[in-house]
């Protein structure tokens, strides 16, 4: 099994002079979950964006390691499975077209995309713009899992999901962890997760 770890230390990030993250540090290893909680505006989403390589921290370090090798920011972007409410897909393309497009870009076999669409129970021929908010969230899950990422970065992962869909996505998360993956989950609420290794509470 591949031994992976994600460690970030003293992360600082603000917006226009307004500090949001003030020296945040934590680590997570294979099979573990890091739960980041805090009120609105405490920087949970900002932290996940920094970890995904979508936002550069003003100071501090982020290190994703696979089998003892630290990956650069570009490699980190390709190894994370990112799920966020801000993540949108092409409204004019169908679910199958969206997933196959990203499967090709991620160098994943097309049937993996089809399998995930089937697993999350989405109608493959429906246009992205015609999906309900719960379906969009399931599409985000399928997209995040597409390339078998080593670390899942999940920002409010069960938002808009009905109980059946939430159970399904929790199973997907557990499968990911059992296979040696890591997860960083940001949510204002504890989410009732039982296998959390580390908790990080952010405050204003």
């Amino acid at each position: 099994m591949t031994i992976n770890s994600l460690r970030f230390e003293h992360l600082v990030r603000g917006y226009g002079g307004l500090p949001v993250l003030r020296g945040v540090s934590a680590a997570v290893a294979s099979g573990e979950t890091l739960l980041v909680t805090g009120d609105n505006g405490t920087g949970k989403s900002t932290l996940l964006r920094c970890l995904a390589g979508l936002l550069a921290p003003e100071s501090g370090s982020i290190e994703l390691t696979e089998d003892g090798t630290a990956l650069g920011t570009g490699q980190r972007r390709s190894r994370v499975g990112y799920l966020s409410p801000e993540l949108s897909f092409y409204e004019e393309l169908t679910v199958a077209e969206i997933m196959r497009l990203f499967a090709r870009l991620r160098r994943v076999e097309p049937h993996r995309a089809d399998e995930l669409v089937e697993r999350v129970g989405l109608p493959s021929g429906r246009a992205g713009g015609a999906l309900s908010s719960g379906m969009r969230q399931r599409l985000r899950w399928a997209w995040a899992m597409l390339h078998r990422p080593s670390v899942l970065l999940l920002d409010e992962p069960f938002q808009n999901l009905d109980p059946a869909s939430e159970g399904l996505t929790r199973d997907m998360l557990n499968d990911h962890l059992e296979q040696g993956g890591m997860a960083v989950i940001a949510s204002p609420a504890p989410l009732g997760l039982s296998n959390v290794a580390t908790r990080l509470e952010l405050a204003r």
């Binding site: 390589g53 979508l54 550069a56 972007r77 993540l87 949108s88 409204e91 393309l93 870009l105």
Partner: protein, 228 residues
């Protein structure tokens, strides 16, 4: 090494197909470019027409008007290349899944093919409406191909720069002046050479150099403006 090149080319192809598939379903850029070009074409045709310009002024004036039509049509439609990705929230997925260089090149090729389609419609109409005869067809084709490529590359680069900024419309105009002005002057000169038959090898070479410069600058700058 070769596998990486093939993978990169495959990414460009996949993203290019995505651009056209999206465009054919929404027809935003197609409609914008075509309607803008046809409107200005008719306005210019009625105002100047074949009789509205003296024979001596035709060679110098009409190529200028022709490229202004193409420039403003492109300015109306092409800046959407990246703005739409940012506004609709699809940029995040692309940032994580695609390499910046393959994305930039696919957008340039998409814009280029869009402009080529526009030129195929507008050029014969313009020549017919103005009764403008071409002495050197090769020079005209070179002007359309090389000028179109430069316009596509320059517009895509500007679109990438402005995509994450406020006041995008104004910024496009501000950046378009220094970036696209040299191309515009060269393309006009080459089109004049096509009309007069004076030979435009020098102008064509200079446009080719401009295109290469903008493409290289775009490939170097784009990862910086696209990623944090």
């Amino acid at each position: 090494m070769w596998q990486r090149v093939l993978n990169w080319l495959a990414d460009v192809g996949v993203l290019f197909v995505k651009e056209w598939r999206s465009e054919l379903r929404t027809r935003y850029a197609l409609n914008t470019l075509l309607l803008f070009a046809l409107t200005t074409l008719v306005a210019v045709g009625v105002a100047l027409g074949p009789l509205g310009t003296s024979e001596s002024a035709r060679t110098s004036v009409l190529p200028v008007v022709f490229w202004l039509i193409l420039l403003f049509a492109a300015s109306a439609g092409l800046p959407r290349a990246f703005v739409h990705e940012e506004e609709s929230g699809t940029a995040t997925a692309l940032r994580l899944a695609a390499t910046p260089s393959s994305l930039f090149v696919s957008k340039v090729i998409y814009s280029f093919t869009l402009l080529l389609g526009l030129e195929i419609v507008v050029t014969p109409l313009y020549l017919a409406m103005m009764e403008l005869s071409i002495e050197d067809g090769g020079a005209l084709i070179a002007a359309l191909l090389l000028g179109g490529l430069g316009l596509a590359a320059g517009s895509t680069l500007i679109a990438a720069i402005i995509a994450q900024a406020q006041g995008r419309g104004m910024l496009f105009s501000v950046l378009a002046f220094p970036i696209l002005m040299p191309l515009l002057l060269l393309a006009i000169a080459l089109t004049r050479a096509a009309v007069s038959g004076d030979g435009g090898t020098t102008w064509a070479t200079e446009i080719l150099l401009y295109d290469a410069t903008v493409m290289v600058a775009g490939l170097m700058l784009f990862p910086v403006v696209w990623n944090p």
